[in-house]
Subunit: 144 residues, 2 copies
């Protein structure tokens, strides 16, 4: 895991919140949706089914943790979860909180709208809220 390198596109779009046991956790810098991405810190994995059984179990524990925290924090109407990776081959799994009045409801969000970056104040607030909600689980917390 020490050799893990985040794909440049994910590094560009995401704000690093911290690392769980298996996954790096990124907040996508898009103020239109509360949107986290989990990236297993393993090389050369493109699809979830390629994780071994133990990693896969850990992955879904971390996914559940993030899903519950997001829905609890933002009181969303629906969670959208997706592993696509057609453009960025490094395995990364989207967790997006959706609302009946969000800009794309009920469509899927991928490839529809450009990202709309958080303001510095919004960004600091989002980062701190989510880091706190998950505080029991970080192995590494990113400094903002």
């Amino acid at each position: 895991m020490t050799d893990f390198v985040l794909h440049p596109q994910l590094a560009k779009d995401g704000i690093w919140l911290g690392d769980f046991e298996l996954c790096r956790v990124l907040l996508i810098n898009d103020s239109q949706f509360p949107w986290l991405v989990l990236v297993p810190m393993e090389d050369d994995i493109a699809d979830i089914y390629q994780l071994d059984n133990c990693q896969q179990a850990q992955f879904w524990r971390e996914s559940k943790r993030v899903s519950e925290a997001l829905m609890d924090l933002y009181q969303g109407d629906k969670l959208n979860l997706a592993a696509l990776g057609n453009v960025v081959p490094q395995l990364h799994v989207h967790h997006v909180v959706r609302f009946h009045d969000d800009p794309l409801w009920p469509q899927a969000i991928w490839g529809q709208l450009p990202l709309k970056a958080y303001s510095p104040e919004q960004r600091a607030k989002q980062v701190s809220q989510i880091q706190q909600a998950l505080q029991a689980h970080w192995q590494v917390v990113a400094e903002s």
Copy 2:
């Protein structure tokens, strides 16, 4: 589980292949993509994180099984996995085999193109291939 009723939209779009221990398995009737949907046969569940730990573990075993079978059968370039449910609230998880030369690569497929039904011959072939690939795992096999 005896009270399980499939959402009418899923019943319309999907061809029932059979049931695993937890999930009903549907082949979406769209000849543009090899596309299975897993529907946990539990009432009132909208999101994966709402399954209990045991069901969730079973769900991901079934998902892995289906993912490997599809990628092995169709030799796809990428698997796309998604739980959206913004339109159909019953939890259902898409497993879509993608190819570099498919009609929407590299875009996500949801909401982009109308379904293009299989011909009766294609349909019979797909159903039988996938049922066979998963034959060790059916609790119930649908008759075609």
